[in-house]
């Protein structure tokens, strides 16, 4: 199981790894310049510890054949569901949401890790023999597999993660060859059912969507984050204010500045040019991921790579979109940049899956 022969090592995607490490380095420098301290030590030190854990997890996943992982997906998926459910029993409440489970010195956010389990499970469902050809029947049978975790995650409540699963699923369906007409019909159904979903949302979630539609609805409350983030990003201008001049970020005007809003901090410090470079890093990383998916020889590996890459892409796009005011604030971290152990580990899990597929593409 852990045997890695030389041929596998020759196919390690070094560009992918170098890009990822570069992003972690940028994240570390940004966090260090914020001087955020939490009980139990500096955020930077904790982030580096999580980075090391992430590396180990990545190497472990890369050493496994993704087909074997997908075969074990139902078990992994059930474990993931159990993790989600455990939040309600053992969870710790942070600012009104029960998303964390504390294990000794670590607090883990099961919904972050579940995203990876979800991708594997979807690939399992889409590539199983009973699912072929992928059509209405398959989709109907998959419905509970999707609905149960989404309900559990929304109940935490972690709307961002729940919403994240939808584009990932859509991309996997496209990759698995579902007819585009069928997908279009589903999209229409989803839009029509939106008014129903409105009633399922919590008050603050509705408020955030309304504020997204009209930011000055409540400039002191919900929109405070968005306005402050926009001011931070915009005031960075072309070249940025540098670390010392980034008053918005350093003076704590910006909420959640080391987690979900870290992009605004970076944008204030390094300006449009810096943002361009950062986004290009992400694009480079994602294109490598799509390349791995495109060049994979067998459908399981291809879908695993596609799922992992789309998961990553959706998080980056939603996070930057919400920080720049294009999307409502839903609370999704920026992969490899935001402070957060579970997010860091989940990011490296996706990288591990990509490496695993790439290393075996010529077998």
């Amino acid at each position: 199981m852990f045997r890695i022969d030389r041929r596998l090592l020759q196919n390690v995607d070094w560009l992918l790894l170098v890009t990822a490490f570069g992003l972690v380095t940028i994240s570390t420098v940004t966090l260090a310049s914020l001087h955020v301290d939490r009980a139990g030590g500096s955020v930077v030190v904790r982030q580096l510890v999580w980075f090391a854990i992430g590396l180990v997890v990545m190497v472990f996943l890369a050493s496994l054949d993704s087909r074997r992982l997908v075969r074990a997906a139902p078990v992994i998926y059930l474990l993931g569901l159990a993790g989600l459910a455990s939040v309600f029993a053992l969870g710790r409440t942070v600012s009104g949401a029960r998303r964390w489970v504390v294990w000794g010195p670590l607090s883990v956010q099961p919904s972050e890790l579940f995203k990876v389990c979800f991708v594997l499970m979807m690939v399992w469902a889409l590539t199983s023999r009973w699912a072929q050809p992928v059509g209405k029947l398959t989709l109907t049978m998959m419905l509970p597999l999707v609905a149960v975790p989404i309900v559990l995650i929304i109940k935490q409540p972690d709307l961002g993660t729940a919403l994240l699963l939808v584009p990932v699923l859509v991309i996997l369906l496209i990759g698995a060859g579902v007819r585009l007409k069928l997908l279009g019909g589903m999209a229409l159904g989803a839009v029509l059912s939106m008014p129903l979903a409105w009633f399922a949302l919590k008050e603050y979630q509705r408020e955030r969507i309304l504020v997204f539609l009209d930011p000055f609805r409540d400039p002191l409350g919900s929109a405070y984050n968005v306005i402050q983030a926009k001011i931070a990003i915009g005031s960075g201008q072309l070249l940025g204010k540098g670390v010392a001049g980034a008053t918005q970020s350093r003076l704590s005007f910006l909420p959640e500045r080391h987690t979900d809003f870290i992009f605004a901090v970076f944008a204030e410090m390094w300006g449009f040019v810096g943002c361009l470079i950062l986004l290009l890093c992400y694009v480079l990383l994602l294109l490598r991921g799509f390349d791995i998916a495109a060049t994979a020889r067998e459908p399981v590996g291809r879908l695993v790579a596609l799922g992992a890459t789309s998961l990553f892409a959706a998080q980056v796009l939603i996070n930057v979109g919400m920080v720049t005011g294009l999307l409502p604030v839903v609370g999704i971290p920026l992969p490899l940049m935001s402070y957060g152990g579970s997010s860091m580990v989940a990011s490296f899990m996706t990288l591990g899956l990509l490496l695993s597929v790439r290393m075996r593409q010529f077998q």
């Binding site: 496209i174 990759g175 915009g234 005031s235 201008q237 008053t247 799509f290 291809r302 596609l306």
Partner: protein, 604 residues
């Protein structure tokens, strides 16, 4: 061939689909970059402007400190709003020259030393938005001046905060203690933030964590001129807990009046439960000058004052008890049977021990005296002989029983334990023993014997109540609006068992000291049965010229039949106890028993 043909389109199809997805992702990134271009390049100037004007000022709202009440619910201290001058470091001018100009203007407007202002600014990081308090207790005129020059004083603000106010400037200074900004050392402990008001002595320090309350705060958006535009968020402060002490404000004030102009201490205690009704130490410091920011000169003046006004003489200064100690020697002798009321001594004013001569305070002596008269007249010669009969070890044992040589356990910090003579190794004798000279000195309360006025108060209380040693109680309870968070029910620390006839004899003799031509006649109030004992603590190894430098004691309780109060008076360098301390005790007792009734009736 056909297999290849059939599989190729499938692979091509999936390949196409991946490319489709990748393209749409890249396209989404282009949208993001477009938005960034809009925010940062097209609108960047506007947002930069906004970030410069983005001044949300976080203004802490100081919680009012809890109030200290006396036993009848009369406040001992209160709060009133006071003006404070503060700087907001980040809003002071950036370049040094114009910043110095601002500081210079403030210095000349308010007559504050320029150096103090610079020091205050240098202490904190220059990009902090939290106000730094520079000076408290501004007058309305000061505030008006600052407001008038506001436009030329960016980063300078005045705030309103609750500040301590006292009935009189020196009222119960040692008991209450002063409140000041946390010192650098206290800041290092990490429990306080800069500018926090912290109790530094007395009850304010002891109960600081209850009294301080929880500061609130508000976030205010201000414009470039520093004028508040709107309030963003407010968190209400929670006032500190209220403290109910055992002090009787009327008695405290009467005792302070009686002690005016002399240095010393007064303790008034209820012998039935150990409650401290008054606690005076003179000279006192001016509480209100110590509150907030005190200027260095005033501080040095107090610290270097040869009269040590910061010292709480009731518990922190140790004196020889003088003849007051004869009560204890009598108790030990009678209980042990070493002396009886019928023992006589012919006092001629001198007592010889070996080659040494010990004198009575009265030239020529008292003539023939028994124990009762020896207490009444405070005859030294009788007690020299009695002490030798009883023995040093026994006297020290009784002193220990009555709590001498140990702190009383009162709630205030810094209490002294006093000192008892220790047996010494004497050549030719086994073990340790008391030298006769030491025992003779101890018998009249001199020598290596030191006590605090609080210890004497508790001792007198035990004589008055039949041997119960109470821990002196200062605080009854600390209460928040919804519940009592701390309470002290009083505590008996020991019980001195003496035969009832001994207690009766002592009370009778102490009554005679005041009411039957004794040394304490100056404390007599017709119609009130006061028992007391005078004491004159000689300064050891002092020349005759300094005889007037003796400390004067008067220890008393009243009424004798059912004692309600113990009053201890000590006057430093006052002279004879009967002449100096007893009249002060009389004033206090008079106030307690007669003025108090009047005031209660008026209030009722």
């Amino acid at each position: 061939m056909s297999a290849t043909r059939r599989s190729l389109p499938r692979r091509d199809a999936s390949h196409r689909r991946v490319m489709l997805i990748a393209t749409s992702v890249v396209f989404s990134f282009l949208i993001l970059i477009g938005q960034l271009w809009y925010l940062q390049v097209l609108e960047g100037g506007r947002f930069l402007d906004a970030s410069d004007k983005n001044r949300i000022r976080v203004r802490p709202i100081a919680a009012p400190r809890g109030i200290l009440f006396d036993r009848h619910g009369v406040p001992l201290v209160d709060n009133r709003p006071a003006f404070t001058l503060s700087f907001i470091p980040r809003e002071l001018p950036r370049d040094e020259e114009s910043r110095d100009a601002v500081l210079g203007r403030v210095a000349s407007l308010l007559h504050i030393p320029y150096g103090d202002l610079q020091e205050a600014v240098a202490r904190v990081p220059s990009d902090s938005l939290l106000p730094v308090r520079v000076r408290r207790g501004l007058t309305l005129a000061d505030v008006a001046k600052i407001e008038e020059w506001k436009l030329e004083l960016p980063g300078v603000i005045t705030e309103v905060e609750p500040q301590r106010v006292y009935p009189t400037s020196r009222f119960a200074a040692h008991l209450l203690g002063y409140v000041r900004e946390a010192s650098d050392e206290q800041l290092k402990q990490g429990r306080y933030r800069r500018g926090d008001m912290v109790g530094q002595s007395g009850l304010e320090r002891l109960l600081d964590e209850y009294l301080r309350g929880q500061d609130g705060g508000e976030r205010i958006e201000v414009d470039a001129m520093g004028r508040p535009v709107r309030r963003v968020q407010t968190t209400e402060p929670h006032a500190g807990a209220q403290v109910v002490t055992t002090i009787d404000r009327g008695i405290q004030e009467a005792a302070e009046r009686a002690m005016e102009g002399v240095a010393g201490a007064v303790v008034v205690m209820d012998p039935r439960n150990g409650d401290v009704l008054a606690m005076v130490s003179t000279p006192a410091f001016e509480l209100d000058r110590f509150t907030g920011t005190i200027d260095r000169d005033a501080w040095l003046r107090v610290v270097q004052d040869p009269n040590f006004p910061l010292l709480n003489r009731t518990i922190q200064t140790q004196y020889a008890p003088g003849s007051v100690f004869k009560i204890l020697v009598s108790a030990a002798g009678l209980q042990e049977g070493s002396i009886t009321p019928l023992d006589h001594v012919d006092c001629n004013g001198e007592f010889h021990l070996g080659t040494a001569t010990f004198k009575d305070w009265k030239e020529g002596g008292h003539g023939m005296v028994d124990l009762h008269h020896a207490i009444q007249q405070s005859c030294n010669i009788f007690f020299y002989e009695a002490g030798l009969k009883i023995g040093g070890a026994t006297i020290v044992r009784y002193a220990n029983m009555f709590g001498f040589g140990q702190p009383t356990g009162i709630d205030l910090p810094g209490e002294k334990a006093g000192l008892l003579p220790k047996p010494q190794v004497v050549r030719g004798r086994a073990g340790k023993t008391f030298l006769p000279g030491e025992t003779v000195n101890m018998s009249i309360g001199q020598g290596t014997l030191l006590v605090t006025p609080m210890q004497i108060a508790r001792f007198m209380a035990a004589v008055a109540n039949g041997g119960v040693l109470w821990r002196p109680r200062l605080v009854q309870r600390v209460e928040r609006p919804d519940r009592v968070v701390w309470s002290d029910q009083g505590q008996v620390l020991g019980h001195v068992e003496l035969s009832p006839v001994v207690w009766a004899f002592l009370r009778q003799s102490l009554w005679a000291v005041v009411n039957d031509n004794g040394t304490g006649a100056a404390a007599r109030i017709p119609g009130l049965d006061i028992a007391g004992k005078t004491g004159t603590a000689q300064m050891i190894n002092k020349s005759k010229a300094e005889k007037g430098q003796d400390h004067a004691w008067f220890a008393s309780f009243a009424p004798v039949k059912a004692p309600e109060v113990v009053v201890i008076v000590l006057v430093e360098r006052g002279g004879k106890g009967g002449q100096v301390a007893a009249p002060i005790a009389r004033k206090i007792l008079n106030a307690i028993f007669f003025e108090k009734i009047a005031s209660v009736e008026i209030a009722g």
